[in-house]
């Protein structure tokens, strides 16, 4: 069982031009995630959500503090679903799946097929990405991330580039797959409603990358957007979210007045 530990994590981007101030993306962030839970990180744009995922996956380094994923004694395996599909355009869907799977031969192929089937794309293995719609490409991206059988699955606003209808059906599909496979998921989004529908726990970040709230979502699954409980919780959380934005706006005005 994977343990994710974020300990006093800070990330500051240096000033690009002379005279401009360095920007803080993540500010003294601490939380732990244990077990097979679905955790969402919600926050307005520019609050360092994607930076957090990049640090976890090793694409970026932290300025101070640490973010570690451990799985017993061996190094943890990570899966990543990006905003855009990020498939190799010159390789077929199957070859794209095999690209990230660390097994080889028939075993790898069987595994790839199993996860393609889960996203409803069995039989699309021989297609090139360009022959699929945007939604289907994103489904390949999801299947690919699950296929590495990760200890921690990172998802970076995976539905934000899709139209509302496609996004809704993919959200339901993601719920199904997750219930079947039970991975530890860290799901980044700016959409509070989406977070409530999918998560067991929601971490709300304030602008500047500070922890604002840590909320348990204890609702039965499978959840639909139309469920009363889900809708109530969404409204409640959206209310807190708006309060937070009002507070930061007020703080900003105050600092300008001073």
């Amino acid at each position: 069982m994977a343990t994710l530990t974020v300990d006093h994590l800070e990330k500051t981007f240096p000033a690009i031009e002379r005279g401009s101030v360095p920007t803080t993306a993540i500010d003294d962030l601490t939380f732990t995630v244990e077990g097979h839970v679905f955790v969402s990180v919600v926050g307005p744009s520019g609050c360092g959500k994607s930076t957090l995922l990049n640090i976890l996956s090793g694409i970026e380094t932290s300025s101070s503090g640490s973010a570690t994923v451990s799985e017993g004694t061996r190094p943890a395996r990570l899966g990543y679903v990006f905003q855009d599909p990020r498939l190799l355009p010159w390789r077929t869907v199957m070859q794209n799946m095999l690209y990230v799977i660390d097994e080889s031969g028939a075993q790898a192929r069987t595994r790839a097929e199993r996860y393609l089937e889960m996203v409803g794309l069995d039989g699309a293995g021989d297609k090139f990405p360009a022959q699929l719609s945007g939604g289907m490409q994103q489904r390949v991206g999801i299947a690919r991330a699950f296929a590495v059988e990760p200890d921690l699955l990172l998802m970076d606003e995976p539905f934000s580039h899709l139209d509302a209808i496609t996004a809704r059906s993919l959200r339901e599909q993601l719920q199904d797959i997750w219930t079947q496979t039970r991975k530890t998921v860290l799901f980044v989004t700016h959409d509070v409603a989406e977070a409530v529908q999918l998560s067991d726990r929601i971490i709300v970040l304030a602008p500047g990358g500070k922890l604002y709230a840590d909320v348990e979502v204890d609702l039965p699954r499978p959840r639909k957007v139309s469920d009363t409980d889900v809708a109530t919780m969404q409204a409640e959380l959206l209310g807190r979210f708006e309060t937070m934005q009002a507070e930061t706006a007020a703080a900003k005005t105050a600092s300008i007045a001073n």
Partner: protein, 298 residues
């Protein structure tokens, strides 16, 4: 929409008759290409009329025919076309093959690391700038007559073009794909095979094409100086013998060879390598057709 388009099309074709057919023929690509050949032949013929030492097209082609099929040039020599191509082509092929393998390897290394780029980039530029004739002379001094000098001249002339193109290709790989590969910890050889090489295929082709043209140039030049057989040597033979139509006949032969190689081999390879892109094009076409059918049905 589509009905209106069809109507204008029928109106256009029924009105013109023979004149219209002729106009369409003149405007076709095939006609334009044929016209350019005719024009060049005409220029050549005019040049031979005004300058005695410039052989006329007809006598040149007659000479060429004898070189290809056998026979004699006023009792001089039998046809030796195959023999000379047979000694040039392996040298050419080997030189190109070495320059492709090393060019891709060096290109991948330089393209993948800033440090390697700083180390090699200027050297590569110098190599690019060196004309084949320098290598032809140097290798003649180093290796004397024979295959070595010719193969190495071909390789040295073609190699930098391959390497430079591969460097550009590697540097053009989208950052998103590189990050994706890193996030999934994809091993190095898999990245090379499935991300870097396919991404640079277009650039490799551009490099290969340059290599073939530059290399062909170099092989002929080097044979002129360092060989006693081969296509380059044969053109020199006729040149030294003051038989300009023989010289020109061989020029036509090696131009013809490079054109055929380009049309028959390179174009086909290219089509195969870009299947993924064509798949995209045909998918878009299919979608367009579906929309069209939808409009007609409505």
């Amino acid at each position: 929409m589509s009905i209106a388009v069809e109507r204008t099309r029928t109106a256009g074709s029924s009105g013109g008759g023979a004149a219209d057919v002729l106009r369409r023929f003149v405007r076709s690509d095939r006609f334009a290409r044929a016209a350019s050949y005719v024009f060049l032949l005409l220029l050549w013929w005019l040049a031979s009329v005004y300058e005695d030492r410039f052989p006329a097209p007809l006598e040149t082609f007659q000479f060429l025919w004898v070189e290809v099929t056998g026979g004699s040039h006023g009792g001089v020599v039998r046809g030796e076309f195959l023999e000379h191509f047979a000694s040039t082509l392996p040298r050419f092929g080997l030189g190109i093959a070495i320059s492709m393998v090393l060019g891709i390897a060096v290109g991948v290394v330089i393209g993948g690391s800033k440090w390697a780029e700083a180390l090699f980039k200027d050297t590569l530029l110098v190599l690019l700038a060196l004309p084949a004739i320098i290598w032809a002379f140097l290798t003649q001094m180093w290796f004397g007559l024979g295959d070595d000098a010719v193969v190495i001249t071909t390789f040295l002339s073609a190699f930098p073009f391959v390497a430079v193109n591969v460097v550009q290709g590697i540097q053009a790989i989208p950052r998103e794909l590189r990050r994706m590969s890193r996030a999934f910890h994809v091993p190095r050889y898999k990245r090379l095979r499935h991300m870097q090489v396919p991404a640079v295929t277009g650039y490799i082709f551009a490099g290969f094409r340059f290599a073939v043209i530059v290399g062909w140039n170099a092989v002929l030049l080097s044979e002129w100086f360092s060989s006693s057989e081969g296509v380059g040597w044969r053109s020199r033979y006729w040149y030294d013998a003051n038989r300009y139509r023989g010289f020109l006949a061989w020029v036509i032969l090696f131009i013809g060879f490079i054109v055929l190689l380009d049309r028959l081999v390179l174009v086909r390879l290219q089509r195969r390598a870009f299947r993924w892109r064509d798949a995209q094009a045909s998918a878009i076409e299919r979608e367009a057709e579906e929309i069209d059918i939808g409009v007609k049905g409505a």
